[in-house]
């Protein structure tokens, strides 16, 4: 069995990295009105903006920490369609909960995503991002990017949906692993055992534990 160590050695960590880098991409760019930008252009511009923001001098200083985080939150919120993401992670269960529960869920889920990624964003250390390709089919688009980290290319794909003049992200796929599917797997299990109340409570607990950890 000893040889298993080698073959599988980095797998758990590789899989662990899945959620790590998407932070660099949770970004936003207000697109000029009346002019629909190409999805790839929109992502490119957004990533540049967010990288500029977080690598600007004084970003990590304690005095500015809160306001800077809020700034990034606002950008993230605009680029991502958290309602669409919520519906997709809940899948069939979405219709089984009340409108009020839906709203609470969207609020909590987006908070969870924002908080986990903002923490990772702050660990950004100059990784390069390459924008390779895009394909548009109707109101959906797929944009392919790569993150170059320690000489390794990490493939990262955005799934986007057009809303009015803007493309908004509803899923991120890193090394073949979809963020939405991954959360759906977790939520399905929790919903089966503890129903929607249990899921909402767990989300709340998670968010407050993140607050404790980051002091934010």
């Amino acid at each position: 069995m000893k040889h298993l160590l080698n073959v599988s050695s980095s797998l758990i960590l590789r899989v662990g990295s899945i959620l790590l880098l998407s932070c660099i991409f949770l970004t936003a760019s207000p697109v000029a009105h009346g002019l629909a930008a190409e999805p790839i252009q929109q992502i490119k511009k957004s990533v540049q903006e967010i990288l500029d923001t977080i690598s600007s001098p004084g970003y990590s200083e304690d005095v500015n920490k809160e306001s800077n985080r809020r700034k990034v939150f606002a950008i993230v919120e605009q680029q991502f369609d958290f309602t669409e993401m919520s519906q997709r992670t809940m899948a069939a269960d979405w219709k089984r909960i009340t409108g009020e529960q839906q709203n609470t869920f969207v609020g909590l889920f987006s908070q969870l995503l924002q908080k986990t990624y903002i923490a990772k964003l702050e660990k950004y250390s100059g990784e390069k991002v390459e924008f390779k390709d895009q394909e548009v089919r109707g109101d959906k688009a797929v944009v392919q990017t790569y993150v170059l980290k320690d000489g390794v290319d990490i493939p990262l794909i955005y799934r986007m949906k057009k809303q009015g003049d803007e493309w908004r992200v509803y899923d991120v796929v890193i090394e073949g692993v979809s963020l939405v599917s991954n959360y759906r797997g977790q939520f399905t299990g929790i919903l089966r055992k503890e129903k929607i109340d249990g899921l909402l409570r767990k989300l709340e607990e998670k968010i407050s534990s993140l607050d404790d950890a980051t002091g934010g």
Binding site: K2, L13, R14, I18, K132, K140, D150, G185
Partner: protein
């Protein structure tokens, strides 16, 4: 060694008998991406991912691995990272990766990817010589020849063998029945297992590799855990999705390339359903036209079997679109002409030489 090989053979046969099912291969570049999307909306389907009858035991081992990481692996790796510079650690990683070339070569061959197997051989030669016994990776950094990661688990998956059940091994982490069989098989191709006759020696080398790997990825597991509501399920699902994409060889999983080579690489990647502009004065052999992507896949497969790459051109005419299949030629006009005749004799009756 003898006993172990018997064991793995039996496990392999049992695995094959129990879990053969039909593989689903992606047809074109982003097809999988769009296709997965369709039923996502609000359909009443519970997505079946991977069967996990051993969940209680797996969860126990997951908890064990978690503690192992925080109590043993992380402290050691942190200390190791503090002592050794990152460059050195990258070199160590490269060296181990170079050692595992036999695994990649054999599995590329088993999957009929003759070209990729050749690339792995070239990489090994370059990295073992110019790269000083694999410490550097000049094949990638100087020559832009990237590794073609394949392992026996992927090969078995390619042959249509399903995951079987999910298994979270103590020490080794997430796997499935199929991938476990694969790992045991690949173990025979891992030179580390032949360095030392004694068990302890190999374990020491393997552990060193593991510590080195972790030292380069410190913090990632914590981030992963932090984002998850149920880390066990999250990891299980991530493992499932990750392996599925690897087995299907989705284009989006292929490494990025830069500069001029990138353009070439896009040309020979198979089978992207994309209109591509070729640099001037290149010879291609047009071998047919298709009305749908299923036909494209058939053509691409036949070309792949001949170790030829397929270039797919998309033509849009008003409301319909069709695909032209071509294969690029490296060499002069006379070489191309010869290949045209050759391909025609191999059943591609409409093979015709084109210049682009």
């Amino acid at each position: 060694m003898h006993l172990r090989s018997m064991k793995s053979l039996i496990v392999g046969l049992v695995g094959i008998l129990l879990f053969v099912n039909a593989p689903v291969m992606a047809d074109s570049k982003f097809d999988a991406m769009f296709a997965e999307d369709q039923p996502l909306k609000l359909e009443d389907t519970h997505e079946s991912t991977i069967s996990d009858p051993l969940e209680p035991i797996n969860r126990a081992f997951f908890a064990f691995n978690d503690k192992l990481y925080f109590w043993v692996l992380k402290p050691i790796s942190t200390a190791y990272a503090a002592v050794l510079a990152e460059d050195v650690r990258v070199c160590v990683r490269n060296a181990f990766s170079n050692l595992l070339a036999p695994v990649r070569i054999v599995n590329n061959l088993l999957q009929g990817k003759i070209g990729n197997a050749g690339i792995e051989v070239v990489r090994t030669v370059i990295n073992s010589t110019v790269g000083v016994v694999g410490l550097g990776d000049p094949a990638a950094s100087e020559f832009n020849i990237r590794p073609k990661e394949e392992d026996l688990g992927q090969t078995l998956g390619r042959y249509g063998i399903g995951n079987g059940i999910y298994i979270c091994w103590p020490l080794f982490g997430p796997s499935t029945l199929r991938d476990t069989v694969g790992m045991i098989g690949d173990g025979f191709l891992n030179p580390v297992n032949y360095i030392n006759e004694d068990f302890i020696g190999s374990v020491a080398v393997s552990s060193g590799n593991r510590v080195n790997d972790v030292s380069l990825r410190l913090g990632e597991y914590e981030d992963f855990k932090q984002a998850a509501l149920d880390p066990y399920v999250s990891l299980r699902d991530a493992y499932y999705q990750y392996r599925k994409a690897r087995i299907e060889d989705r284009d989006e999983m292929k490494p990025a390339l830069s500069g001029a080579q990138k353009e070439d690489a896009i040309h020979v990647s198979n089978p992207p359903v994309l209109a591509l502009e070729a640099p001037g004065k290149c010879f291609f052999i047009h071998i047919g036209t298709c009305i749908d992507e299923a036909q494209v896949a058939v053509f691409s497969k036949r070309l792949e079997d001949l170790s030829r790459s397929a270039v797919v051109r998309v033509y849009e005419r008003n409301d319909y679109r069709f695909f032209g299949i071509e294969t690029p030629v490296t060499g002069t006009f006379s070489v191309a002409k010869k290949q045209e005749v050759e391909l025609a004799s191999l059943g591609f009756t409409s093979a015709i030489l084109v210049v682009r």
